[in-house]
Amino acid sequence: MKSAFLMLLALALLGASLFFFYRSSGLLMSNDYLAGLLHLFVGFATIRGGVDLCRFAVVLHLRSR
């Protein structure tokens, strides 16, 4: 149950990072390079958090078996 909840949170963060990447590409297309780069970094941080939550969920799942 706990691992499923964590996996859900991880998916939400992965989805959020995709949104940041989308915004970043829009900003890069409108020649706003600094803002695009900053959005890219936020996307990286969010996806890193999502991957970490995935790891937590997997470890919880493995330990519960």
Partner: protein, 235 residues
């Protein structure tokens, strides 16, 4: 059967990438193809045939996709923006990406015994896990690239330099996410027993995760998502 599938998907990919655009541009702009150009366009078919027979991973996964680049570089009309403009162009590009995804998935499965010999020596569930991990990785990389491509296609700007920079940023981002975060932190521990033990040791404290910590994580994620909503409504 599997050879036929790989050949079929590979030929469809080459047709969608080179031959159909050539026919379309010929009708649209009167593009004349010389013998050299047709030879370059046929090069991927030769590579695909050799790759299917020899089952070499580098031929199927690297040389075949890269062999299209020669024709695309020599005949710029094949990657003209007139091909992929508008909703129909976006749809055509989506189909192209879908076929490319199916090709890589098929080629990965075809070369799996050479790539991951440990899969056959372990339990069947390990092999299934390996396949599902490949699918997850494909989905993630596809989602990241799509998020960048949506920005390129939906933005009204026609600046080719910006489009190229954005496409390169998308590719770089995909490589960084897969190579730096996704593979070492998630995929490798899932498929390698030693790495998995290390991962479990690293995140051992999760076993004692309290309800308070779980609630805190949920609040952080909810805050991030609500910020996104607010941000989206402002922009």
């Amino acid at each position: 059967m599997h050879h036929a599938l790989l050949l079929g998907v590979g030929l469809t990919l080459t047709s969608l990438l080179l031959f159909i655009p050539a026919l379309y541009m010929r009708a649209l702009t009167g593009l004349e193809l010389s013998m050299d150009m047709v030879t370059l366009m046929s090069l991927p078919i030769l590579v695909l045939l050799i790759g299917t027979i020899t089952k070499r991973a580098w031929l199927l996964l690297w040389l075949f996709p890269c062999s299209h680049l020669l024709a695309l570089a020599v005949i710029p009309e094949l990657s003209s923006h007139r091909l992929y403009q508008g909703v129909e162009g976006l749809g055509a590009f989506g189909v192209l990406l879908l076929v490319a995804g199916i090709y890589f998935s098929t080629a990965l499965r075809d070369t799996e015994p050479q790539h991951h010999t440990f899969a056959s020596s372990k339990a069947p569930e390990e092999g299934i896990r390996l396949v599902s991990m490949s699918t997850l990785t494909l989905l993630l990389s596809g989602a990241i690239l799509t998020s960048f491509l949506l920005g390129i296609f939906l933005e009204p700007s026609n600046d080719r330099l910006s489009a190229n920079i954005t496409a390169l940023a998308g590719l770089l981002t995909t490589w960084i996410v897969l190579g730096r975060f996704w593979y070492p932190y998630f995929i490798r521990p899932m498929n390698d027993l030693e790495s998995r033990k290390t991962m479990i040791q690293e995140v051992l404290f999760v076993g004692r995760i309290t309800r308070q910590q779980l609630t805190f994580s949920a609040i952080i994620v909810a805050l991030t998502l609500s910020m996104l909503l607010v941000f989206n409504s402002i922009m």
